[in-house]
């Protein structure tokens, strides 16, 4: 029979003295209760150390706190350390402040309700079982997938902090998509030089092992013990053991080529970047002829990606200022929600760039070798003033569709991380705080998550480096075994749980035990599902789905749930 010690937390006056005394006299008479003490504030370190001292005197093996929300005490225990001389899971909390006193005006009703909650909590306390802590060593070794600007920045940042980084790039060069740009909108440096400096720094950093023309083929294991198989283009295979992974594989663009879009005077923003860098002021030449009128057609495909607007406005300024071209930008909305863009937009307008905001897609046609763009400008106030505008352009620049890189789907299968609704990695869930993935130890960042501007990718790279450091800096990962556990004797290997687990923490492994499903003659060939305790988040989805009820969550068992329902006797 459990011997329970009770502490009533006065919570600095939240629970009145008279109420406290009524509760105290009620509980002192209950079976299993060894003592009942009143404390002023169990969420403070002094209160907790007093509690610890009383418990050290012995005589009890379970503790019940009657006070506020259990979340308060869990927080204080985490911060000040568990006051219990024995396992922290042998504790229950009766929340009579938030659930009773603050929501029930009548004191009699409050007392009745409080008694009910205390009875429930006593049952939970006596049924509670100890749960141990384990720790897993984490070596400071990380695999970064993708040698674009995000991958390079993360590798540099981590290497400087003492982590050994394996940087994997499928192509032969580092740099990625940022090299399509010639200039930045918010930095004076030229892109190529800036990237080259970063790349040479990578090759000079001893902590970074660069693997080019190589791809990830296979990944096994969990946090701290990932085993990756890398295959190079020449067929060589390498095996790597790392503690964590960062995915920064970037995105792809797709260009519309139907009909007029295949005309030589219809080009993409990145093609224009290149032309601008090669052009010599003051004349902009295209195919041997001078260019006077340039039209940008934005928001044709993606309305919510800002990168195109930034590059278009940046280029248009250069065309108007240095090359005396006339530029018209057609868009649905001018996207200025990036630092410094509003000023750039205004400067572009001052320099003569014309902006047209359309609702219906503009019509494109070829007239005498030039592109005619017919657009209905929705900016004028009166609809009768909204004449269709015809722009005869020497060049039409369109935006491209942003799509996930082709290997993304395969990568999500290999890494067992989720795809979002547009095919990019990771669904849009605020709880994942942007750079995390559904698996502990795997981080997803940069363009492969969503196409974004370079400054944003650099911020993300530092944020990822921070997350990785937070994981690795202690040298180990300590966790409670308050996680799901499969009883191998009951597992029928139906594969429901590995498919369900949102954190991909369950795999089917070979065990050396027998169970009722073992086929005679094949005793040494069967396996059972195994939950990796360091990768498990303790959500309990597998526990609820297992058809054989072979999985348990030690601190949220069926009995504990039924006890909380307070219906079964």
């Amino acid at each position: 029979m459990a011997r329970i010690g009770i502490f009533i937390d006065a919570l600095q006056g939240s629970i009145s003295t008279s109420f406290r005394e009524r509760i105290a006299s009620y509980v002192e008479g209950l079976p299993q209760v060894v003592f009942c003490r009143v404390e002023e504030n169990l969420t403070s370190s002094e209160g907790l150390s007093r509690m610890g001292k009383r418990l050290e005197e012995g005589g009890v093996d379970r503790v019940l706190i009657i006070g506020g929300s259990p979340r308060l005490y869990e927080t204080s225990f985490q911060k000040w350390g568990h006051p219990l001389p024995f396992n922290p899971y042998l504790l229950a909390v009766a929340n009579i402040r938030e659930q009773v006193l603050w929501t029930t005006a009548d004191e009699e009703k409050a007392f009745e309700k409080a008694k009910g909650i205390i009875t429930k909590a006593l049952r939970t306390a006596s049924a509670s079982q100890p749960i141990e802590t384990q720790s897993l060593p984490l070596k400071p070794e990380v695999l970064v997938l993708g040698g674009g600007i995000t991958g390079i920045s993360i590798a540099q940042a981590l290497a400087k902090s003492g982590v050994h980084v394996f940087l994997l790039e499928k192509g032969s060069q580092l740099g990625g998509r940022v090299l399509e740009l010639q200039t930045f909108y918010n930095r004076p440096e030229k892109v190529r030089q800036w990237v080259e400096e970063k790349v040479s720094e990578v090759s000079r950093t001893s902590n970074i092992t660069l693997l080019t023309q190589a791809e990830l083929k296979y990944l096994e294991g969990h946090l701290g013990r990932f085993q990756a198989k890398i295959r190079s283009r020449d067929g060589r295979e390498d095996a790597l053991q790392v503690s964590a992974l960062v995915v920064a594989t970037g995105y792809e663009t797709q260009r519309e080529r139907k009909g007029i879009y295949s005309h030589k005077r219809v080009i993409t923003l990145s093609e224009m970047e290149k032309l601008l860098s090669q052009a010599k002021a003051p004349s902009f030449q295209y195919e041997g002829k001078g260019v006077g009128m340039v039209t940008y057609l934005l928001d044709g495909v993606n309305e919510d990606i800002k990168v195109d607007s930034i590059n278009a406005i940046k280029q248009s300024l250069q065309l108007q200022e240095s090359f005396q071209c006339q530029v018209a930008i057609l868009c649905k909305d001018v996207k200025v929600s990036t630092d410094g863009m509003e000023r750039l937009y205004r400067r572009a307008r001052e320099k003569g760039v014309l902006f047209f905001k359309y609702e219906e897609a503009p019509k494109l046609s070829i007239v005498n070798g030039q592109i005619q763009v017919d657009v209905k400008d929705t900016a004028p106030i009166q609809k009768k003033d909204q004449w269709p505008v015809s722009i005869l352009s020497d060049l039409l620049i369109t935006s491209e569709d942003f799509i996930p890189a082709p290997e993304t789907e395969n990568l999500s299968r290999i890494l067992k991380i989720h795809l979002g609704s547009r095919g990019f990695l990771m669904e849009d869930n605020p709880q994942l705080l942007r750079v995390r993935s559904n698996r502990r130890g795997i981080f997803v960042t940069g363009g492969c998550r969503f196409p974004q501007e370079v400054s944003e990718s650099l911020t993300e790279a530092r944020a990822v480096a921070e997350e990785v450091m937070a994981l690795l800096s202690k040298g180990d990962y300590t966790y409670d075994l308050a996680v799901a556990e499969v009883d191998p004797k009951k597992c029928a290997v139906c594969y429901t749980c590995p498919r369900l687990c949102p954190h991909s923490a369950i795999t089917v492994e070979q065990y050396a035990e027998k169970n009722i499903y073992t086929i005679p003659g094949r005793e040494n060939k069967w396996g059972a599902a195994k939950v990796d305790p360091a990768a498990c988040y303790g959500c309990g989805i597998c526990v609820a789905e297992c058809p054989a009820k072979a999985i348990t969550l030690r601190h949220v068992t069926d009995e504990q749930i039924y006890a909380q329902m307070n219906l079964m006797e």
């Binding site: 927080t75 990036t338 205004r346 849009d428 605020p430 750079v435 911020t459 944020a463 202690k474």
Partner: protein, 336 residues
């Protein structure tokens, strides 16, 4: 760590996880800053407003072992640097000095003071409120009502770009969050009260997050919402009928029209928090072109995190705070 809003909390949590002891000071009596007063803007599904994330992070920071939290505390002076600073803290009448290796400022932003836009009548007309007022109404009362008579408004207008993208007041920047938050508020209100009609008066719709196109399509497809590209110039109030009249161009009627609204919500932009300028003088920090705190070079040991360095939503503030925490670590030469 100066500032206990979402950015300050994130920096302090990250540093603590890395084993760097941090003292977090907050001027108010509770943590969470501006975003702690935001309501959940979900309709049938989550609309990614991140308000719930703030609540979670506020409760999580109290679990961190190496963070000591001092509320109702202000920073009054600083000496030394760049390797070590001695900061003077003030709490009521108490004065203390603290020696630290780095200082991070995350003092946040204030919503633009809408009384400055006298033509909209905020502060004079009861039924003209800011988005912050609306957030607090929905969070703490759970109900939408007109301040003047407590009744449910039949139609609501949202004015965008109040205090942003406005040369006349010198705010030549986009506050980046207002289009998204106003549309989310509209979705949340329409979900709770399908009979309320909303009109969204804007200049350009700014995207936010990764699935904004889908979200915008849903807003466009909602028959009870009008998205009109026209910013109104003035709000007229007729005291006899307690009505608010607004003049704007209506694409349906193809002309300038005047309509009455039961409730007007001003989507206010971001400005630097009061009191930040004096802190900036203490640390010899400059303003950016847009009027926010400019990050000094990292060798100085002073860092800036969150929206006080430029408009950011909660998502990007958390990201920026993590990025700043990494820079702090690098400065302190923290290693695995």
């Amino acid at each position: 760590m100066v500032g206990g809003g979402i950015s300050g909390i994130t920096v302090a949590t990250e540093l603590a996880l890395n084993g760097i002891p941090t003292t977090l000071i907050e001027r108010d009596s509770s943590l969470g800053g501006l975003s702690a007063s935001f309501c959940c803007k979900a309709s049938e599904a989550c609309n990614k407003c991140f308000a719930c994330v703030v609540d979670k992070r506020v409760s999580e920071i109290r679990q961190q072992k190496r963070v000591s939290i001092l509320t109702q505390t202000e920073l009054t002076g600083v000496k030394g640097g760049p390797e070590e600073y001695t900061v003077s803290l003030k709490r009521g009448k108490e004065r203390t000095d603290l020696k630290v290796s780095a200082v991070v400022l995350a003092t946040g932003i204030d919503p633009y003071d809408a009384t400055q836009k006298a033509e909209y009548g905020y502060g004079r007309f009861k039924n003209v409120i800011t988005a912050k007022d609306l957030d607090e109404m929905l969070r703490f009362q759970g109900k939408l009502n007109r301040p003047s008579d407590g009744k449910l408004p039949k139609n609501v207008a949202f004015f965008q770009c109040v205090g942003s993208r406005d040369e006349s007041i010198g705010n030549l920047y986009c506050s980046q969050v207002c289009c998204a938050y106003a549309l989310r508020l509209i979705r949340a209100i329409r979900h709770q009260y399908p009979e309320v009609r909303a009109t969204f008066l804007y200049m350009d719709i700014q995207p936010a997050g990764t699935n904004f196109q889908q979200f915008l399509n849903v807003c466009r497809g909602d028959k009870g919402v009008r998205l009109i590209r026209s910013l109104p110039s003035k709000v007229y109030h007729s005291p006899l009928s307690d009505q608010l009249r607004v003049r704007f161009t209506d694409p349906e009627r193809e002309e300038v029209s005047e309509e009455s609204f039961d409730l007007i919500v001003l989507s206010v932009g971001m400005t630097l928090r009061k009191g930040t300028k004096s802190l900036m003088e203490l640390f010899r920090l400059d303003l950016t072109e847009e009027g926010f705190v400019s990050s000094p070079p990292s060798q100085t040991g002073v860092f800036v995190a969150g929206a006080c360095s430029g408009p950011k939503d909660i998502d990007r503030s958390i990201l920026h705070a993590k990025s700043t925490a990494f820079l702090v670590q690098q400065h302190l030469k923290w290693r695995v």
